[in-house]
Symmetry: C3
Subunit: 345 residues, 3 copies
């Protein structure tokens, strides 16, 4: 897709200085710009790059006054960063809207319905009695079990597996190869040492505006539902066990795992590679540092925790600093003991 | 699927008090019950819920005597919890048995055979010279390489990838998007700093009754076999490297990784996010706590370990408790040194 | 595939003692040999096995002199280990080259081209305007988005998902169910507590000779490219965030995660389950121990680090050793304080 500098300036209510007929095909950071790219300058720290960038056009703040000659066309706007973001969003909408219609072969079971303006890619499999809203995109090679419902505008990327009876809200995005609704890990030990599978009969509910990264796993509940609340964002390779609840607008970074029946509050921020034990409750706005292991419920809101097991972030940082000096402390302690024994004599 | 309360009571050898013509369509926890659901009451702690639940029927112990009016139909049995479990299992069998036959398009290579009563979903790919037993379910979008054998009653969920020459026993379940038998991570450093791939020619063997979660990876052996012994249960996102052996009835929780050539004994319990180094031997009944890192072989049976590196659980817990007090200890040590110097003068 | 012992000896320029008409169908470790297998003996420690192995043939060094009777045919060569490796490579080439041609149904979009001698498996999906080189194998059930380019001799295993505009070099291997180019994890917090998706418009570039394990995830850049340099090897379940660069011949073991915009140097060795924070720079030849957490840039080349947070390996090992003795130290400190107070009086 190509636009002239002038077309872009009109979209952003901006004013062009330079060649407004030049063609823009892509976006780039100002320091990595190439002919055909558009960049932006917001942070004054990056100003030197505007005099050397190869980008065809740069979006700048109204107040920007070049101190040297600039080769690129400049688009003056109220807020360069904001305008650039708007531009990227518009661009993404235009490119993403390309996919429409039904590719064959694809499978849709009896009693399943799909709304308007949707996309169903080749080799996608939709089971029976599914209800799929408007503007839903189901990419190739996906599997959707029986009785699944998917709300308007949601996007199911290639290779996603959605087990039967999963409920997905509106405006959700699930990235490639993520598995939603497979069995929780539940086994009852038998007298002979073997394990018997505990039937997992519940489902998974994703509320509206949820985003799940690639290769993640969200298990169905034993009974009832594993729930990801509105606006929660989960990164790649995250594991959510059976009967977990993830609160509204909570963010969970890559490779973190949450054990069974734990309830995470709203607006929490959980970093990468964190482990959270089962049957805990985390208050709203809890923050947990990377690689931490949480073994206790958190009752007060807004705490920052770190470590494995996790406790107060600042205390943990002090302990870690002391840990580095521990071999030295051990020597000092020994020294003191000897000296003390000596002085006792 | 619908049953009357009377049908369920007959199945469980129970006695109904209340409306035995009411219809049951689903199961729920007593505190989350809805009309059409059946629940159970086993733990007296939950008794208050039986007076408020909206479940249509509740399974209760023979000895239960309501202290208030109960709206739900009651099914009296010898052991409410056990009966409920039996019911869930029966229900799951009934619903799971729905899938039968061959959906098209699907691919099966020359010389491959499949037993009776099986299911092969659309877009599933079976290579050449595979031997697949009776009652095997192969869900849509799966890939099974050449010369794979799969025993009776095993279930291969959507998106599973099984590489050539893998051997899968009877009654195994492999959840969605798990990869069995891809190359072990083996590279020989070359003088110029590059790495040469070491051919991985072995395979993976899953004995009977093995369960593997979603998005897990089990690498083939360099030579010989990576082996998962009878009854072992592996959770989502677990990584098993080349030539590993996982013992009989050993349980491994989510996101744990086992490095190459390590042999894990029988009846071990390994928690989530554990890392186990390569070429180790773990005795039977070893227990390893979450996020631990095991760097040494464990010879005595039945030990509990924790920490990274992992050592005795109790000792590790004491060290962690001390670690919290470490900054304080450091101050005390300094104080003591000063005081001691002073007293020396 | 079957070969006589004589055929193998000819391939390796070796000399046979024993039955050179016997048939070889597989390779095995000498201690696990079966009839029809070929093994090798290089390490004298394994010599006892040559007198009991059931392998049909064993490759031995020219200098080997049996001290007892050997049942297997022996193939004498200059270097037994090297010859065995050559044999495995030849075998793998022969078996791997089996796949050729186009299986149906498969999908290829308009304007996409594929070179000679390639393989496109059933249910594979190739988007529009892709450029795919010679000898490329695209296994069943894969998804390749629009405008992807793949260099000669690369192999895309079953279930791999490659997003639009990804660039893959020559001789690359991507194992099953890995996802390349899905969105980076970028969300801008809004005043109402919700998050707005930041468009991720960049791509992923894999240079030549790159290998990526199974179920790994490599996110596209926000703008520009996430880059995996020539010869880098990534293991299963590795997470590479947006705008990361992984240097030439760098090796990353399973379940490690690298956060956004971090640049890892050449020839680094990163063990399993490591976490690396965002926006860091790691010098060439950095080595990081398993389960470490790196929070700072590393400027000097060739350092070995360990711990979470990671610091000098040796210092970290000493701290860990002291940590085990910490509860004991705490007692000694208390003892000393009491004794000191007493002596003060």
């Amino acid at each position: 897709m190509e636009f002239t500098v002038r077309q872009i300036a009109q979209m952003l209510n901006g004013k062009v200085v330079g060649d407004d007929t030049a063609l823009i095909r892509s976006a780039a950071k100002i320091e990595e710009g190439q002919p055909g790219c558009i960049s932006f300058l917001a942070n004054p720290k990056y100003e030197p790059y505007i005099y050397s960038t190869r980008s065809t056009a740069v979006i700048v703040d109204k107040s920007f006054e070049p101190r040297q000659e600039v080769a690129s066309a400049l688009i003056y706007v109220d807020n360069a960063y904001l305008s650039f973001t708007v531009l990227l969003e518009e661009y993404q909408k235009l490119t993403a809207q390309g996919k429409r219609g039904i590719e064959q072969p694809s499978h849709i079971g009896e009693g399943s319905t799909m709304g308007n303006n949707g996309y169903r890619g080749a080799f996608s499999y939709i089971g029976s009695h599914c209800t799929i809203g408007n503007n839903v995109k189901i990419y190739p090679n996906t599997y959707i079990g029986d009785q699944v419902s998917i709300g308007d505008n949601s996007v199911i990327h290639p290779g996603v597996r959605i087990y039967a009876r999963t409920v997905i809200g509106r405006n959700c995005t699930i990235f490639a190869n993520t598995v939603i609704g497979s069995d929780g890990f539940g086994f009852a030990p038998q007298p002979d040492g073997s394990y018997k599978t505990i039937p997992q009969l519940g489902n998974v509910v994703l509320e509206d505006d949820v985003s799940i990264g690639a290769n993640a796993t969200i298990d169905c509940a034993t009974m009832g539902s594993t729930i990801i609340r509105q606006g929660a964002k989960l990164d790649n390779l995250v594991q959510i066990a059976h009967n977990v609840e993830v609160g509204k607008n909570t963010v969970i970074a890559a490779q973190t795992g949450v054990s069974g029946s734990t309830k995470i509050g709203d607006q929490c921020v959980i970093a990468g590679q964190v482990g959270i034990a089962g049957h805990l409750t985390l208050a709203n706005r809890t923050k947990i540092g990377a690689q931490s292991g949480l073994g206790k419920s958190i009752k007060a809101e807004g705490l920052s925790l770190s470590g494995s097991p996790a406790y107060d972030l600042n205390l943990h940082l002090r302990s870690l600093a002391s840990l580095k000096r521990l071999p030295e402390m051990e020597k000092r302690l020994l020294e003191l003991e000897r000296s003390h024994q000596h002085s006792e004599k």
